[in-house]
Symmetry: D2
Subunit: 343 residues, 4 copies
């Protein structure tokens, strides 16, 4: 590679993948995260002319290996399709590059565990993108729980619904409802309760689109988690809510309750002869969670800079993945599945 602009007191970052998420991370790294210095972007298929128009003279390479092996790069952001994550992450580890990789690390629990272990053994920071942990409202809720505002939490109920069905093409390679979609909620439930799950009971349903069944997936799911102390989580998932992106959470304890409500498109209220009307929820994850991606990246860069552990632990990644497996097994076998069975 050409010599990029290396600065002290900054983490030199390379970004792999210029899809929707890659562009979000790139923008945040370039504009908002003071201690990040983007040195190059790699994408095997993105048109160079287009890149030039959008990013000026930022270094651009087609060959991801060139980026991963560059001595000018400290950390790599991986925002490529899931199927490529594991190989890229491993190459990063081998080249001693800190890695931020979009979720899931891999559809295979074994590979997930192996890679996380390898990174840990070699002391290479590896963080998976559970961005919702960095959402303002969820963070405030977590903080309130930590501070004892609701006492001992007894149940967390998560509502997670997409505004519209994904394409069947996407569904085919997504890993299925639990691995692709509910995985956020597995992580969020553990994050909010700060307790360990011992049992999963999941039910899936093709409610909207029979095509889902043909590719072996569901568009609707209801998952109950039981924690070690007998407390619960309920995860309510739908691939489609006509009223938009439905992202809510409620956690009840012996001293109180916290709700995270939907963020609406505006704060206006219209009264007319038919009723009182408000705007719909923000309609996509890029609207609803846009700030969380920035805070997430800031946390990653901050951890590298301060040489502290990345804020999502290996155990968090493994458990979210394992719960996705357990939920699938529970749905398939129509029975509650103990986590102990899965290990």
């Amino acid at each position: 590679m050409d010599k990029p602009n290396r600065l002290t007191n900054k983490i030199n970052v390379g970004v792999i993948g210029l899809g929707r998420m890659g562009k979000i991370h790139l923008k945040n790294l370039m504009q908002a995260i003071t201690h990040a210095n983007v040195v190059a972007v790699a994408d095997p298929v993105y048109p160079e002319e287009q890149f030039r128009k959008e990013y000026g003279d930022l270094l651009f390479v087609k060959d991801v290996i060139e980026l991963i092996t560059s001595p000018d790069v400290d950390a790599i952001i991986i925002a490529t399709p899931t199927s490529t994550h594991a190989a890229l992450v491993e190459q990063c580890i081998d080249n001693d590059k800190s890695v931020f990789c979009e979720k899931p690390l891999d559809l295979s629990l074994e590979i997930t565990k192996t890679l996380l272990q390898k990174a840990e053994n070699l002391g290479v920071p590896l963080m998976i993108g559970f961005n919702r942990r960095f959402d303002r409202d969820f963070m405030e809720a977590r903080k309130a729980v930590s501070e004892g505002k609701i006492g001992n939490p007894q149940i967390v109920k998560i509502t997670n619904r997409d505004p519209s069905l994904p394409s069947i093409e996407f569904v085919k390679t997504s890993g299925g409802m639990f691995m692709d979609f509910t995985i956020h909620d597995f992580d969020m439930a553990r994050y909010m309760m700060d307790k360990e799950v011992v049992e999963v009971y999941a039910k899936g349903l093709v409610f909207f689109d029979e095509e889902m069944a043909k590719v072996g997936d569901v568009d609707t799911a209801l998952t109950t988690l039981t924690f070690a102390d007998g407390t619960y989580a309920v995860l309510d998932n739908s691939r489609k809510a006509v009223f938009g992106y439905d992202q809510r959470l409620e956690i009840f304890g012996d001293k109180g309750m916290i709700q995270v409500e939907n963020n609406l498109a505006n704060r206006n209220v219209l009264y007319n002869e038919n009723g009182i009307h408000q705007a719909l929820p923000l309609n996509s994850f890029t609207q609803r969670y846009i700030d969380s991606y920035c805070k997430e990246m800031e946390a990653f860069i901050g951890a590298l800079l301060n040489k502290t552990p990345v804020p999502i632990k290996n155990e968090d990644i493994i458990m979210a993945t394992l719960l996705a497996y357990a939920a699938k097994k529970s749905m398939d076998e129509q029975r509650p599945v103990k986590i102990a069975e899965m290990k």
Copy 2:
């Protein structure tokens, strides 16, 4: 009259007028107010047959004087048209009967003052029905202000809108917007702020119905009150809100703010592709304030029973009436009017 059923430890009550308000008071007195004993009802025009069907063998007389002079009656409830209030109240006072009279006591400020003074001189309890002081939500708000929850109040803003225009026939004899409608807000503003008004600036507008102008009235008004310490009230009135009975209040002080919101027809929320929808406010005073009439009557009966002053002072009645006059004068003369001018 025949001998009614006289009980000890109860106030024996007669009700005059079986219109909408008379029936509400009668029902409350008969069913809910333990220490009231309804002995008779008087109405010169109500069909006796109808009365029998509705109230069984309750004593019914056509002649209001018979009721007012009956030794079996301790207290009289007057729920007749406004034009009859003064004469009936005076007869009650002359016969040493405690009186509860619907607002306004009289359209004339002079007569109002004279009657209140006479009752006071003779020691006859006389209470005028400012029911909103007894509304659960307004009472709670008043309590919070009294307890210093918002510190020193700087402004009270009252929104008072009817769901639909009254008949022009009613408007003609109503005393006009300020005397008939805003009068509730004059009283409420003083009740909430617990300060005395020194200036009124009122503007009226025929916004909905040109017929209003023909009978010398307005259907819309905006009144600003200034209290002795320079703080304010804003009274926003409309005879018509397409979304129903709009009854709100907001009071701001140096330590906080209290809002009384509309009571909606139900607590349901509907989400669909067009938005998030709630039910309209309760649609009339008989729905919105139904409980307040009962609490108001309870307060009246309680004061008689305990021989304590009725909970609305002469000064409250006089000031509300005087403010209605001042507002009319301000609107007519297109200038702020000092209360000192009115006395």
Copy 3:
């Protein structure tokens, strides 16, 4: 019995039991339900002197059989302890008296079925008090679902939490969490979804009070119902919410969502330097559901008057009871239970 006041066009009613619910029903029947004529009250233990003070010369008997066999009575309201329900209901049936009985009819599913069948065979109207079906907000929600406002319902989520733990004495004879408490939600879930349940998965937890465990009950439960078409209900129960009586429901479908929110003690909002504050939910079922008891009784009396079926079907009673059994079995056996197993 002495001769009570028999009226035409009215249903002559006798009330058995003067506990909290009996008094609520009695008041509604006497004051609000035009076509009911209360002829007598029976309670073996209620002090007669106390009764006289409260109800004047209303006929009062100690012997419930006297009431049930009286030719002056058309219908009986049973508001006694659960353990006495079955015997009293059977005597009513045998004496051809229409019966309204508080839920549950009996803790035994067999007895429940037998009695319902007997009443049906003999053409005696028998209605069990699932009052929440008559709550304004739930009725509006049900209506909206029926009208297709949310399309095909996919999930109903019910939150039902009491403000404080019942006494252990009560718990011992209550029939347990599912029969005593969740039973309302079993009925509500079927009522809202208008679909039949095929599977129950229930988990219980002693979260607040170890005494619960000693008497073989739980204070917390989470129940998942699966309907015949694969859609769901989630019932979230707690015997204690520090913030009061938590009564909410949410039903999501392919065209929208409806929420029934808590009814708060008032509609005021306080802003101060610590935040924005609202009042707690109405604190008990007698506050939150007070109107529903009246509407429920009105529906019962109306059905008798019009000789139409009572508005809650035998199947509703049986299914709610059966679901309570199935939930208990599911919790005990730690597995989902098919309704088919229970029959």
Copy 4:
């Protein structure tokens, strides 16, 4: 100046003043507004070293004249103290530079008019920063009004309260409550109603801080505007609300009502034994209106690029300034002031 990087299809912008607002505009121009190209920044007092640290090698000059006269600059953003606005704007006009200037253009109405006229005569675009017109919620409300969603508007009520008192030093040179603070509301009222004001009645009060009186200003004001058709606006201002930045608006018409509610710091709700609690409103204009500054600048740059008029008309600037004068006069003379008097 050195040769900056001149691009086609972009507006080359210079920014004068690196205070709080200057930095916000600079950031938006550099990061978010595609068609802006920041060529230089001028500030006579900002430390160059500090500038380098923050903005790298962006061109920085101490001499504002150098920037205004530079042939490399198309448009100038003025974000300096109010007292310097007029002279800078005039120099921009004389040098044929498009200008965006923070409000107010000048404390003198005469100078304001003269400068606007001069810019118009010479065809130089000049826009004053009434950013609230570009706030998402206010824009949506304005759109709904334009579309007839509430019919003919009868009253707009604006609540505008700062979270804390400004320094007395600031107050001294601010132009006073109406010119510095209420001016936003004068503009907003006209923008929302789309009607012309004919009368102002304003009252001011020193409620919080006696120091205000010493420098001839107030900390609290209540202003009533009357529009040509007799409809109203009420502007409620306070320099201090303990619960944060209170920014609300309500507009009522013959077909409905729209409210713009406060934007809260998060969407969480906490229930505990004391009540139901929400977060306070976003605490400052830089939080609440941060997006509006970007949209405002985008509108300015877009107008220059497309050679369309800037989206705020001269009449808007003149009327807002004139209303500030009229309000001051009304407060001082304790009477309603006609706009006709002011011209």
